[in-house]
Symmetry: C3
Subunit: 426 residues, 3 copies
């Protein structure tokens, strides 16, 4: 699976983690490998091997200067592309001879959507996936990341499992499960849905805890559509995008809402970074919204400055048994924290050998098929899904209410137009 990931562009860190020209170097671990990231004197980002090729000193302690990074041990200097440009400890002739051998590994780097993306492969590289959040003006988005303390795949599965919303994220009022909006003091502050029309959707989530699923594949992944009974004989559809190999767009937004997405990047087998995107296609995220997201709301947990959630594995997510009785299904504060708690609770790597899957797990099943199929493609030296279809990532997710019996094609058309996904050409 590591080889498969290395065919795709992957978020390595947030742009703001390396600020300004000659930024301080930071350690980055991706797919179990150690790197150092920094900006050079022109502000160009680089993600290079962690250790100096001379004697193995860690470049984290290096100096960013002279349009590159200089090892703190003996002053060897390297560019963001990995070229060795100075070996001051050798005589000039010897240095010239050694420099080509002293080239270091440098990942391919692009910056988009306030994220530094890397690619492990060699030329020719695919294009960056064409995410809408990265295409909108910077003021229209808020991007962050959070530490998840378990294997990436079960966390993705949580993101694709829209059925759990009827339980894990439910409120409790007078001893009964209720929509978030009715839960009084337990209502998460993050919700932007306080108009009466949106309140209904929360009620439908709780009233119909057994949604029916349809999956529509497309060139970059699939759209997972879950229908619940709404009022007046209508259906309430929540539609989640899964985009290969580790992205999702969340299903709970109407066209006029801020959209949300995630990317899960393995640090190692037992932890991952979850990149979180909030963006609005048509207007800026305003200061109040931005402050709320920074403080922790919805997909964005309260975190320390190392992007470690305040509520985490070590402290049982600060679960309150009292609030679990009276305010929310879990007693854990925050949608993000509830998701993280459940994913972590499945183990460092979830054991799938004894599951009892049912129809609402169809998205999870298809995710596993699709990712295993991609691994097979890579083994067969074929291009896995999505890599050569960057524009197929320009899709949307969200919810909609439609009459019963509406064909799924019409549901997608009515809600997304052409942005439901690009049809597979093969």
């Amino acid at each position: 699976m590591g080889l498969t990931f290395r065919k795709y562009w992957i978020p390595a860190l947030l742009s703001r983690e390396i600020q300004g020209r000659d930024s301080a170097p930071v350690r980055v671990k991706i797919l179990g490998e150690d790197f150092v990231a920094f900006r050079d004197s022109e502000g160009k980002p680089g993600v290079v091997q962690a250790h100096c090729p001379h004697r193995g000193a860690h470049l984290f302690f290096g100096r960013t200067e002279d349009c590159g990074i200089r090892c703190a041990y003996h002053g060897w200097h390297f560019t963001v592309e990995g070229e060795c440009t100075d070996i001051p400890i050798a005589t000039p002739e010897v240095a010239e001879r050694m420099k080509p051998k002293a080239r270091i590994r440098a990942l391919h780097v692009r910056e988009a959507g306030d994220v530094v993306w890397v690619h492990f492969g060699s030329q020719p590289l695919p294009e960056l996936p064409d995410f809408e959040f990265a295409a909108v003006p910077a003021g229209h988005r808020y991007v962050s990341k959070k530490l998840q303390q378990c294997n990436w795949a079960q966390a993705v599965e949580g993101g694709l499992d829209t059925a759990h919303f009827s339980y894990l994220h439910a409120g409790i009022s007078n001893g009964t499960k209720v929509g978030l909006h009715e839960a009084g003091p337990s209502t998460p502050s993050w919700t932007q849905h306080n108009e009466p029309e949106r309140l209904k959707t929360f009620r439908w989530l709780v009233e119909d805890g057994a949604p029916r699923f349809q999956i529509v594949n497309h060139a970059a992944g699939m759209l997972i559509c879950a229908a619940r009974t709404a009022d007046d004989d209508q259906l309430y559809y929540r539609m989640t995008q899964y985009l290969m190999p580790n992205h999702s767009l969340t299903p709970g937004n109407a066209p006029q809402d801020t959209a949300l997405g995630n990317t899960w990047v393995p640090i190692d087998d037992h932890s991952c970074w979850v990149y979180c995107y909030a963006w609005h296609p048509e207007r800026p995220i305003n200061d109040e919204e931005r402050s709320r997201l920074e403080a922790g709301s919805g997909l964005f947990p309260a975190m320390d400055e190392s992007f470690t959630p305040v509520r985490r594995r070590e402290n049982d997510y600060l679960i309150s048994r009292e609030r679990q009785r009276t305010h929310s299904f879990t007693g854990i504060h925050g949608i993000s924290e509830q998701d993280q708690a459940i994913a972590d609770s499945q183990g460092l790597i979830a054991d799938r050998t004894n599951e009892l899957l049912c129809q609402t797990d169809i998205g999870v099943v298809r995710f596993r098929e699709m990712i295993l199929n991609a691994a097979q493609e890579v083994e067969n030296e074929r291009v896995p899904r999505g890599v050569d279809a960057p524009h197929a990532y320009r899709v949307r997710s969200g919810d909609v209410v439609v009459p019963q019996q509406t064909p799924i094609a019409e549901v997608l058309e009515s809600r997304f137009g052409e942005m439901w996904g690009h049809p597979l050409t093969t």
Copy 2:
């Protein structure tokens, strides 16, 4: 040895760790296996598998309601017996079909002596061991537990090794080893023996550091009798009960004293819970005595609310070298802490390959023989000692002074009547 333990009833947690109806679930690890314990809406205790059979979410985050526990992820519901009673995410017909497959593992549970006991086996189950501490009125006992940071077996060996009392627990006065009572400020506050008659016993412990042992086997284990020279040509006997496979009753009490016992329950190979029992056959434990035990006294260490001793491996049991010179043999405060320190100090699992055993270690040797023999019995599909003799656990331990040359049978008769142990019938 794990299979052998699984033939016996084992303390899983204190009754008070799950309080009231629909208690908060707590994590329980026994013999390396993870469980969740809770009380249902009727107050009935359950100890069930940790992970939901659906997708593996941990039931610690579940909700106790509707006479069972409900998984926080998708609302599946299970009784204390492990029956799946609700799969709300499926249609009613599918749910009915799935429930039998969704049964979870539930240990057999009994409550006795303020302890929740579990049995791993299948029907027919043996009866609970008939401990006196569990049979007296609740007000006559005080029960707690403490974390021991090493393998269970060496901790049991410490409990059966009555010889070490002459050293490990001795006081120091003017540079000389003395009985606890003479040690002035180092006297542990726990002793109830402050009448002059009892003071002598402490002196005898120190004056005769090489006790002579006799072992009397019985249906549930053995009585380990250690004789020391007392005044006036008499013998001072201290007699410890070992009860299969992991219980002991301590040897230092006269008939009118509060009795004490322990059970060592493996958490994993490197740690165990030590259940601690204080009880009086004839009268309640009064408030002052109870407060003393709660604060830490004798077998009961000062602990935090997770039952982790304040003095522990990580902080060298707060040893004071100054007090080791002037007040006590170890410089460590508390009998319990002294015992825990020494057992831990033997290593996470004590290495027995290079021991130099002598006659005072006879109890340790017999313990090893008895427990290994039980493992052999289990391998041969026979019932190991004690399992089918629950009433043989209604025994006592304690001390007594007798004339030299008194036959051991008379010693037992004079001190315990018939409560020395049930003769083996085979």
Copy 3:
């Protein structure tokens, strides 16, 4: 390599770690083995096996008394030589029979230079290496140790690599690398070289970052000589002693300066103690100098009472990126801390398979050859270099300025007289 180390005398702990008669026992771990060190009632130091031979209780909890250590469990007593002198739990006759079997392992111990040295081997033992720091009056030296959080060998390599001084320890002023002396507020307080003549040497270190090396072998190790261009067509030599198997004397001192040395003692494969020696051949270290060294200066870092540096692996040595831009090459405070950071950064055990060595690494290469050759000698049951030449350790290191083209023999003669090293006799 462990067998090779066991042929030499090794520092086990500082003399002051066990103070006075009947000192408190302390845990000592050397080459992965656990010991307990203490002083007996006569003040004689002992380093003995950690666990009592009776039942394996750790002797750290023992009592130092009666000219030996007494186990806290059952009172067995042992001398610093490992003799068992009391088994109070056995009858006298049995005890006499058991004592010879109860002998414990005791390392050979010598005290010199405020250090307790041990030897793992059997008689006949070599003599202690005849270090000058141990031969001067006690008031002429200051000795301490510090924890290094990586394998010993790469830390030694850092000590022998005099070339890095031009980079790792450089100051920064107005964005340019400068000698320590010009760096203003970043000047380490440790330097004793504040006279104008010495200032030049720091400038030469920075101006000539590619020193030329010559190595002179001798009976106890080698002298590593690095020449840099000085003013007026002269050469500035810095000469480091490497003494088998784990000692070095530093190169930066003139004859009138305090001399400095180090010994790296493996705790296990991933950490070592670095013993640090400062001494003056001709005069006492005065109180002000001593206070400075205690507080952390030069080779002596600021430490807690367990000899763990304040700046260490876990906190990135409190690196300041601001100070890295404006004051020093690393932004890490202190020469010792800079060295420790770089050695640690090479990994718990540095990977040498992909190095790009150049001419300035000649000392490192020769160290590896010499130590691997010693291991080969031990395998062939021959005495490795230095073991039978204790007086060959009475050497000095330091710097000197000489005219260009001065033969190395004359350089050594002019700076050290006969104290450059003892010629090899074979």
